[in-house]
Symmetry: C2
Subunit: 404 residues, 2 copies
Amino acid sequence: MKINENFLKIRNNYLFSDIAKKVAAYKEANPAADIIRLGIGDVTRPLPLAVTDAMKKAVEEQTTAEGFRGYPPEYGYDFLRSAINRHDYAVRGVQLADDEIFVSDGAKSDCGNIGDIFSVDNVVAVCDPLYPVYIDTNVMAGRSGDLLDSGRWSNFHYMPCTAENDFLPALPDRHVDIIYLCFPNNPTGMAITKTQLQAWVDYANANGSVILYDSAYEAYITGEDKPHSIFELPGAETCAIEFRSFSKTAGFTGARCAYTVVPHALKVNGVELNQLWARRQATKFNGVSYITQRGAEAVYSEAGKLQVRATIDYYRKNADVIYNGLKKIGFAVYGGVDSPYIWLHTPDGLTSWEFFDRLLHEANVVGTPGSGFGPAGEGYFRLTAFGDAARTREAVERIVKIFG
Amino acid sequence: MKINENFLKIRNNYLFSDIAKKVAAYKEANPAADIIRLGIGDVTRPLPLAVTDAMKKAVEEQTTAEGFRGYPPEYGYDFLRSAINRHDYAVRGVQLADDEIFVSDGAKSDCGNIGDIFSVDNVVAVCDPLYPVYIDTNVMAGRSGDLLDSGRWSNFHYMPCTAENDFLPALPDRHVDIIYLCFPNNPTGMAITKTQLQAWVDYANANGSVILYDSAYEAYITGEDKPHSIFELPGAETCAIEFRSFSKTAGFTGARCAYTVVPHALKVNGVELNQLWARRQATKFNGVSYITQRGAEAVYSEAGKLQVRATIDYYRKNADVIYNGLKKIGFAVYGGVDSPYIWLHTPDGLTSWEFFDRLLHEANVVGTPGSGFGPAGEGYFRLTAFGDAARTREAVERIVKIFG
């Protein structure tokens, strides 16, 4: 009996537990401190009423034999796949078949599980900083090689995203097979334009690479020149898989519903990746709760759309308050326009963790050290717009008082 | 870019789609036929009111900022892990820590994903017939070797379970690393006694094997000598992982909630499998809906327990009707006592599919050919007790009329 030794390579990511420990220690030493948390990427506003109404109705249906629903279809109910297709793709001119859309319990699950369909031998390209799931799941699968002193893995191709390159990764100068891209980006909050993303689509098609495109934050995009979906770009259907979620769009972090698009046209040596993903999901997944899917469908109702928009506007105003408040006092701030994340250059040459400590001790505000998202995040810091509006304003006022 | 070639080895399992096609063709030729379906392993009774009430309350909580719940804990809410521990284990004298229980979206997901933590080199032992997920997921992971003419894979160790051995697998005569056991069994409906299972626990401990124990149907057990959990047996905590589900217990096939128990004492070369599974779930899974978990918790309320019991008794009566009805006319019938599945020897030397055709054409009753669960299932047939009571009685009357 042997375990998968690759699991032992992963160091526990202590980022959020380290943060929690520091906050707890400070709180113990200063019991009266009123701490404001702008660190976590979780939403806080209630679910839209259209969604909860639909869920209650779906729960009620389960109380009779006539209304009861057993095993859901593994790839999602037709009503939801079709609603996603019409409202998220067709309206933007993207032509998809409903069976190119796979409903799931979360973009994190899909981003992790998608590796099942690829050979262990593929070379993986990732941005730095990044959402740690992209790296950790590939380490666990055996694609990483060894951990170097730099904090990077020997087999991955890293693409630094810093102020120097406007937080846009450079096209690889070597062959890579799998490319993780996330726009609007977590953690930098930066979006990509259609022209910029087209270069990646063209690269992938020319090199036989597959782009794994995470657009979990597309609902925050403001500019017309920025794509909500990679499939808005010609040629993406032969090189890209897209991950989407209801989490940050409609507050489903706790309700769990997402979807992944795998076009039929995307083939490797003649094999449709759509068929491989369908096989993976049919074999190792059993679908999403009917109640949840009815809630997700209601996101696309007239009332649902208005309510979702109101919540996003609420977070957007928070982002605006943070972004402009810090900009006014001379901080170098990024993101925040097409994203709920504000990424800032730490002032006075402080490291990410030094800035974290000052913010906690002097302003009683908690954020996330950029270095926790990868070596190239050192000297940066993430604040999120998902908090309460009044508390967010107060947090910014406190930061302004200290650093202004 | 290379795909995972192991995915191409899997032949689509056409069992249920073949059944659907045959039924559709018959229905088209005989539009007036009143077909009764006793083939599918899905439940049909409504969710217990205690569960739907709890779900409605949980949905209502999501309509306010104060009650809103974001990301659930990856391993399940404490309230559910603790309720599972008390009501499913402590009452049977099994001592578990709450953090040995991992809540998930389904036993199918867990049975499939558990392979992530094991090396590809392990030798896998499976019963024949079996729940196809055990085999398919290991083929996809690269543990199968080649498909032989017998319909078996070269690297797996098969353990036939037929009337000749009372449907109990024999201990392997070679070294095996991973052993899948499911009791009460799907598809045979047969349970195992504590004494019989103890032999497996002892074998696994002596040989350094890990037992993956699927007890999704434990709620149907009637006999005191049959274990609901493998952890009722001394020594199981150092050799077993257990999969459980609310699906067949409380009608959660559509609501999606299950759990997996990985004891801290289960180690391979000093490494706790609990830690590996924790890492797998934290990296590639994001927890189960709060609403669903509140529903699952209500299964253990006083009202919930009574309602769950009533539903199981309903199905149990169906099982009784099928079992005794067929026994009376001389059929060799198995299962049905500790299980919602009745497994029967096809009469008159018919193959599984020949019997399927006769049942469909002459009785207008649909079941599942045993050969669809593995070569050793040939000559057997599965009927399920999850249907409507009156329809189940009628189905049995029709079969009796033809074969009696």
